[in-house]
Subunit: 137 residues, 2 copies
DNA sequence: TATATATATTTTAATAACTAAAATATATAT
DNA sequence: ATATATATTTTAGTTATTAAAATATATATA
């Protein structure tokens, strides 16, 4: 029966997928431990750090939400003094959301709680995982 | 300066983490393509398949939500005839949520759109990734 | 130049998702 | 019996999200 071997893979994939799901969640949980930020807020702060700020539309794309939702997300982080809005002078329709100094500090704090060797391991492992992921997505 | 090497790792980790985030999301998106189910609904169906049904509290733990939210999630999938509730006869307080035949079919459909070789690759890659993840979480 | 059209974000009103706490039902211990 | 504990559902209120309209700016063209 040709469907049989297929089904074995399916079961295995499902199981591995869900394990990975949980581990990723756990990892972000470790990062956000003690912070009063939601996972998405944390991830947005990291994105802003990495990209040196983002346009509202870029944030909407990244999280697959509507522009209205982005306004709301950014309002909240702005109230916490973690991000600020900067209108581009070249095109004043565009609002670039960037980290404030406080936002930068917060992002650094999050990682500084790990010892050096742990960070080295994490960096290496994540790099390897991304390479692997490239072969399936 | 001792903080300098640390910061380089941090930047790298953030970048790799966010890439992985996006790839995982993309992978689940590929799975749910064409299905009118949310990501969490899809993941719950897979969990139920893997575990042969789950108690409400187990579902709450898995998704880190309250029991009330689980009732609501299950109500929706029940209306779609994808899951059903079964009271345990040993302890009638416990409700086990299990896939209906329609639910099983749906889960299988989701994977059967991939060719055999692709499934083999995915299974292998996910297995390797999980092994790697074990060293950091 | 005026006018239309396009783009980027915010506002608004309605809906969906979620929470905390109370209610219900069942089980266990004294 | 009675009290206490456990598992789920219900309820009422909050928060997050959406679709669509409003606002502001930019670009194209007659």
């Amino acid at each position: 029966m040709s469907g049989n071997k297929q089904m074995n893979h399916v079961k295995l994939i499902m199981s591995e997928m869900l394990q990975l799901q949980q581990k990723s969640k756990k990892f972000v949980n470790i990062l956000s431990e003690g912070e009063s930020l939601s996972q998405n807020q944390l991830i947005l702060l990291l994105q802003l750090e990495i990209n040196g700020g983002m346009k509202a539309t870029e944030i909407a794309d990244f999280f697959s939400v509507t522009p209205g939702a982005v306004t709301s997300m950014c309002d909240k982080l702005e109230k916490l003094n973690l991000v600020k809005r900067e209108r581009k002078s070249e095109d004043r329709r565009i609002v670039k959301i960037v980290l404030t100094n406080g936002g930068e500090d917060k992002v650094h704090e999050i990682f500084m709680k790990f010892p050096q060797e742990k960070l080295t391991t994490i960096a290496k492992v994540l790099k390897d995982i991304n390479k692997l992921m490239n072969s399936i997505v």
